[in-house]
Structures are given as structure tokens and as C-alpha cells.
């Protein structure tokens, strides 16, 4: 035995000793959701404290989250008891690495969500946990400049552009705000809002004539958009600071504005285009990795999270809405009330055109989003000709669809095999 090996042995022995001292039986809840410090605190104090077992809630950015999970799967030995992430994160994983949850006896109230959670297998691979959507919000100051005859709960894109132009003129600077920053969710606006509203599709209609109109309209809107938008990722900040008066974003990324100054802002549905009022849900789920140290404890935690009262506590803590049937209480935070009303009006509107989350893309989900982001950057930021950019990006989109074989999802018409880009 060499000296070096002795040292290594001693070092790992020491480490084992330290590790043994720290080991405890808490279920480790490894999440990418509820990441901001105040939401983490609320998750621990209000949501997980009601569970019988102690839960160690740790929220991470996506990179460390995936790396740690991969490492535990490769080492075949885990500390993570429960995973919390978005549908897109789970769909990029191998379903083999997640424990089947079909026999849990609980599921969400939405068949669509339950189907999505099967990730193409026969059984649920993750449990739908909470949902959200994207809405519009405005400073009450901006309501003075609404175009004549426009109903804020039934806006069209043309009216939105006119409104933004009026506000631009009145304030002397562009006051529309769009989350086009590095961490902004701009791609969801194109996939779930702009494209469905103008083309009634996302993939099939990517390079259609209607798509050209959509991008022309968005260019018009961009003229009245705060140019700092390429640096905005959480529009609540710009609402509060006054840098933007009218904004689009994820409901939980607007929550602070409503909670801090509930009387200053209004939430309202996304606008409608010629093909209806496109909108898209956000779905988060929980799953058990196959390396979980205590399967029963993990399943008990899922059962706790799916209880109606826990779902309401989660709503208050994170501004994500329940996925099971619940009676909402009256003492909800202002952000939840505002967002809930706007989403209800959006989905209940006569011209509603709901879309689904991209499905079947596996680990190509990031590349798929990239196509839309690049298209935006080339057309709107770089000012390149719309038709040429769309034809160019179309080949990339086609390659992704053919490689993954993903069938179309709503609002695209169903397809046999891979969704075609027409």
C-alpha cells in the first residue's frame, strides 16, 4: 500500500465520519421552483411545515439542479427524495429515471395535465403540482391613454399597439415593457401568444404569411417598447420602478408589484389577434428519482402536496395556482386575486384560443425555444427582412421536429408522426 493510497483512505474515512454526523432522515425536496428567498421561506413555513415528516426544501438554479441529479443517478446512490421542476425539465429526462406514480391514487383535476405527465409512457412519471400562466399588467396611470372604445378585458393586438403608442407620446418615452432579458420568458410569448393569436398554430404555421403579419405587428409594438427591455427579466421590477407602464409576463413574475402596491396596478388578459386570444399554461410537477433513499417518505410528501389545503398554501406562497379542485378562500394576497381574475377572463373569453406546452421534444426543448428567440432577435432587434429570417429558421425548426418526431400540439392541427413545418 503506497503512501498516497493511505492518505486517500484516511481522507475518505475522515469524510465518512463527518458525513455520518450530518446525516438525518429529512426528505430532501430538490426544486427549481419557488426559488426567490422570500418564496423559499414561505414554502418552508407555510407549505411544508404542515407535513408529518421534516422536509429539507432546497431550491436551485437549473444547472446545479440537473448536475446533482445526474450525479446521483450515475452513482446509483441518492439523497434527493423529491424533485420539483417545470414540465419542460421533466420531459427532457429519461422516464426510466423517474418512479412511476400511476398507482398513487391522487392526480390533478385536468386530464390534459395528467396526460402530459406521462411523458409518452403508460404511467404518470411526475405529479402535476401547480400551474400558472402569462398575463398582462398595467400601471393605473396608463389607463388614461387606452384607445377610445377599447375594453381592457378584451383588447386586440392593434388596440394594444395603439395604447402603447398613446402612452409613449404622453410620457415622452416608450412605456411598454417586454421580458426580453437573458432570463426573460420571451419565447413563451411567441409560442403561446403571438403565433396562436395570428396564425392558429406554432410549428405548422411558423413561416406562413400570417406569421409575417404577426412579426410586422410585433415590430410595430417594439417601436413603443422600452429599449431597456432586452435587459428586463422580471417585469414586476419595471412596473414598480415606473420604467414600464404596460407589461407582459409570467403571473408569478408580476406578483411583487401587486403585493407591494395593490392599488396602483391592474391585471388583464392577453390581447387577441385575428385567430383568437392565444394563451398558454405553465405546469410544474413533482417526481421521485429512482435513487430516492426512502420511497415511502417521498410518496407521503407528494400526497401532502396534493391535499387541497396544501395547494392553497402553495398558492399563497408562490402565486402558482392549484391543479386539484379547491374552494379558494377570501384572504388571498392581492397578486393572486389579480392574476386569478385575469386568467379566468382570458380562458373564459369568447375568442379564447388555448395552446398547450410543447410536448415530445425531449432534451431538444431548449433548441426549440432558441429558434423563436433567434427569430425575434434577427427580425426585431437586428431589423432583418421577416420572410428571409423565417425561411432560414424554418429549416432549423424542421430539423428539430424530424429528429424528435414530436407530433403537433394545440393549437396546431394534429399530425401523423412529426409535426410538419408548412
Amino acid at each position: 500500500m503506497t503512501y498516497a493510497r493511505k492518505m486517500l483512505g484516511a481522507a475518505s474515512g475522515l469524510a465518512l465520519l463527518v458525513a455520518a454526523g450530518a446525516a438525518q432522515a429529512d426528505v430532501l425536496f430538490w426544486s427549481t421552483q419557488a426559488n426567490p428567498v422570500e418564496e423559499q421561506q414561505a414554502m418552508r413555513d407555510q407549505v411544508l411545515s404542515g407535513h408529518d415528516d421534516a422536509v429539507d426544501y432546497q431550491s436551485n438554479e437549473l444547472g446545479p439542479w440537473i448536475t446533482r441529479l445526474e450525479a446521483e443517478l450515475q452513482a446509483d446512490s441518492g439523497t434527493i427524495g423529491l424533485l420539483g421542476a417545470l414540465h419542460g425539465n421533466f420531459s427532457a429526462m429519461d422516464p426510466e429515471n423517474l418512479v412511476d406514480l400511476g398507482d398513487m391514487g391522487v392526480m390533478s383535476a385536468s386530464d390534459t395535465f395528467n396526460d402530459l405527465a406521462k411523458l409518452g409512457t403508460d404511467s404518470m412519471q411526475y405529479m402535476p403540482w401547480m400551474q400558472a400562466s402569462y398575463i398582462m399588467a398595467a400601471n393605473r396611470e396608463a389607463l388614461h391613454y387606452l384607445p377610445e372604445g377599447a375594453d381592457i378585458d378584451a383588447l386586440t393586438y392593434d388596440q394594444l399597439i395603439e395604447w402603447a403608442a398613446n402612452a409613449h407620446e404622453a410620457a415622452g418615452e416608450p412605456k411598454f415593457g417586454f421580458p426580453a432579458g437573458p432570463k426573460g420568458l420571451k419565447h413563451r410569448f411567441f409560442q403561446g401568444y403571438l403565433y396562436p393569436s395570428y396564425t392558429n398554430g406554432v410549428v405548422r404555421t411558423f413561416a406562413s404569411d400570417k406569421a409575417v403579419t404577426a412579426w410586422e405587428k410585433f415590430r410595430e409594438l417594439w417601436a413603443h417598447t422600452n429599449p431597456g427591455s432586452t435587459n428586463f427579466s422580471f417585469m414586476q421590477e419595471q412596473l414598480l420602478s415606473g420604467d414600464a407602464w404596460i407589461v407582459f409576463d409570467h403571473t408569478s413574475r408580476l406578483a411583487n408589484a401587486f403585493n407591494e402596491r395593490p392599488d396602483d396596478f391592474v391585471a388583464f388578459p392577453a390581447p387577441a389577434g385575428p385567430e383568437g386570444r392565444g394563451f398558454m399554461p405553465v405546469l410544474a410537477g413533482v417526481a421521485i428519482p429512482r435513487t430516492a433513499p426512502d420511497m415511502e417518505a417521498s410518496k407521503a410528501l407528494i400526497a401532502h402536496l396534493m391535499k387541497p389545503e396544501t395547494q392553497i398554501a402553495t398558492l399563497k406562497a408562490t402565486s402558482f395556482f392549484p391543479v386539484v379542485d379547491v374552494d379558494l378562500p377570501d384572504d388571498l394576497p392581492p397578486s393572486v386575486k389579480a392574476a386569478g381574475d385575469a386568467v379566468a377572463k382570458m380562458s373564459g373569453s369568447a375568442d379564447a384560443n388555448p395552446g398547450l406546452l410543447p410536448a415530445g421534444l425531449g432534451d431538444k426543448g431548449g433548441d426549440f425555444n432558441r429558434v423563436y428567440v433567434d427569430t425575434f432577435e434577427r427580425i426585431v432587434l437586428a431589423g432583418q427582412p421577416i420572410e428571409a429570417v423565417l425561411q432560414d429558421q424554418k429549416t432549423r425548426l424542421e430539423a428539430i421536429m424530424n429528429e424528435t418526431g414530436a407530433p403537433c400540439w394545440a393549437p396546431d392541427a394534429p399530425s401523423e408522426g412529426a409535426c410538419p413545418v408548412e
Binding site: 450530518a22 418564496e39 432546497q58 436551485n60 448536475t67
Partner: protein, 286 residues
């Protein structure tokens, strides 16, 4: 009588020389002020925003004097696990300091005192350890750590941080040793010292300030590292891994307070050891 009278044709020359001198002085002063402001103004605004109520943080222009609203800091006082994370950060940083000096300075000594084949290549290779981004290394490292039981320990994380700090430790100590003439050691040998005692009695006291400086580098590298800490520790998180990932998205006033909490311990440490840092650059009062 003639002496105090200035020479008639000297006078037009003297004035421009003086004004050039004072302009140079002005430029120098402006440079000093600019450099100080470069560092101090952001820290000052960080402090003002930390000590302000949320409404003030979101307003513009900012007040010049803080209003001493402790709400944001109180939030973190109640945030579970802060103190444990702070303790872990200090422990990991201290271990990193000790190990990177213990391993790095002998390597620096060898590089400066001995000739061996491949020496130049070795110096280059040492820098190459910084060429691989951590997110790339973290996965195989984590797998190995889980298998060996090093996972989730301060010692294991300190090993990784030592690897990151080592190139600096080696190169800094290399240049320090090279600056000390070998003749000093040879003189000590002739006076009865062994190689070891010559080192401890003659060379070590001379380079101690420099060693401290490279220890500071090791400390700061460990303190600021997020990715490996987030992947390799669960229960024993460092403060940076614990907080930094979660400071992207919360409301502004919590961002500022969290940033303040992350910056202050590092500032205190650097302030405490600053004279050694200056000593390395030869501008201290030794």
C-alpha cells in the same frame, strides 16, 4: 539687490511649467478619486439600499443618507440556515487557504530553485487547470464524491476549491521565491543550517507577506465559488451557494440586503489582512 529680481526672460517659461505641474497633479488626483469611486460608490449604494424601506429602494433618485430601516436585514435574520451556511463558508475558505498554501508553496519553491526537465511545460500546465469550466467538471466530481463518501462535506468542497486556487498559489510563491537570492540560502548553509532550517529561518520570514497574499486569493476564490458548492453540498451549504442562486428573482430590497450580507464578510477579511497584500506589491511599511 540684483539677486531677488527675477531674470527677465525666465519669467514666461516658469508659469507654463508650474501650470503643467499643477495640471498633472490635478489629473493624478482625479485619477485617484475616480478609482476610489469605482470601488466605493457601488458598495455605498448597496449599503443605502440595504438599509432602506422597500418603497425607497424602488424610487429614484436614491437618498444620499440611509434611513436605517432594518426590515430587509431582519428577513435574512429569520431565514433558515443562514448562520450554519456562514460557518460552512468560513470553514471551507479556511481549509482552502491552508491546503492551497501547504501544497502550492513547495511547488513554487521547487519551480524557482531546481532545474528539471519539463519545467516550463509544468508551469503552463498548472494554468491549464483553470481552463476547464466547473459545470463541466462538476458532474464526474459529484459522482466520485458520492462513491467515496466525500459528498456533502466541507472537506470535500475545500478540496475542489483548493484545485481552483492552486495555480495562483504556485505562481505567486514561485515569483516570491525567485525574488530571494539563492546566495542568502547558501550563506545560511555555510553557517551550519540544513536545507530545511535555512528555509525556515531565512527564506520563510522574507516571503511570509507574499504567502498571506496568495492565501487571500485562495480565500476569495473559495468564498465566491457557487457551482461546485451547490452541486457537492446539500446539508453543509456555503453561504454563497445558499444565497446567491436565490437572489436573482426576489424583490429589489431583498436582493440588495442579500448582496450586502455576501459582500461584508469578504470585505472584513480583506480589510483585516490588507497590509500583507500591500506588502507583496512592495509598497508597505515593512
Amino acid at each position: 539687490m540684483a539677486a531677488p529680481v527675477p531674470h527677465p526672460d525666465k519669467e514666461p517659461d516658469a508659469a507654463p511649467a508650474a501650470s503643467t505641474r499643477s495640471a498633472g497633479r490635478l489629473l493624478y488626483l482625479a485619477g485617484v478619486i475616480l478609482l476610489c469611486a469605482w470601488v466605493l460608490v457601488p458598495i455605498y449604494f448597496l449599503m443605502i439600499n440595504t438599509l432602506s424601506a422597500p418603497e425607497t429602494v424602488n424610487s429614484f433618485p436614491k437618498p444620499f443618507f440611509p434611513e436605517f430601516d432594518l426590515g430587509s436585514l431582519q428577513f435574512f435574520a429569520g431565514f433558515a440556515g443562514m448562520l450554519a451556511a456562514l460557518k460552512n463558508s468560513i470553514l471551507v475558505a479556511a481549509l482552502t487557504m491552508i491546503m492551497s498554501i501547504a501544497i502550492g508553496s513547495p511547488a513554487g519553491y521547487a519551480l524557482s530553485r531546481f532545474d528539471f526537465p519539463g519545467k516550463e511545460l509544468f508551469r503552463l500546465l498548472i494554468l491549464l487547470t483553470r481552463a476547464f469550466p466547473l459545470p463541466l467538471l462538476a458532474l464526474p466530481l459529484a459522482v466520485m464524491f458520492i462513491q467515496t463518501g466525500l459528498d456533502d462535506t466541507q472537506f470535500g468542497l475545500a478540496l475542489v476549491h483548493t484545485t481552483l486556487a492552486l495555480p495562483f498559489a504556485v505562481l505567486i510563491t514561485f515569483s516570491l521565491f525567485s525574488g530571494i537570492p539563492i546566495e542568502l540560502e547558501e550563506a545560511a548553509w555555510t553557517l551550519g543550517c540544513t536545507r530545511l532550517t535555512a528555509f525556515t529561518k531565512v527564506v520563510l520570514p522574507l516571503i511570509l507577506p507574499g504567502i498571506t497574499a496568495s492565501a487571500i486569493f485562495a480565500f476569495v476564490i473559495s468564498w465566491n465559488e457557487v457551482f461546485a458548492a451547490a452541486v457537492l453540498t446539500i446539508e453543509n451549504r456555503t453561504l454563497t451557494a445558499f444565497l446567491l442562486q436565490s437572489l436573482d428573482t426576489p424583490p429589489l430590497h431583498l436582493k440588495f440586503a442579500g448582496g450586502f450580507i455576501l459582500v461584508v464578510p469578504a470585505l472584513i477579511f480583506i480589510f483585516a489582512v490588507r497590509k500583507y497584500l500591500f506588502a507583496m506589491w512592495g509598497i508597505a511599511n515593512r
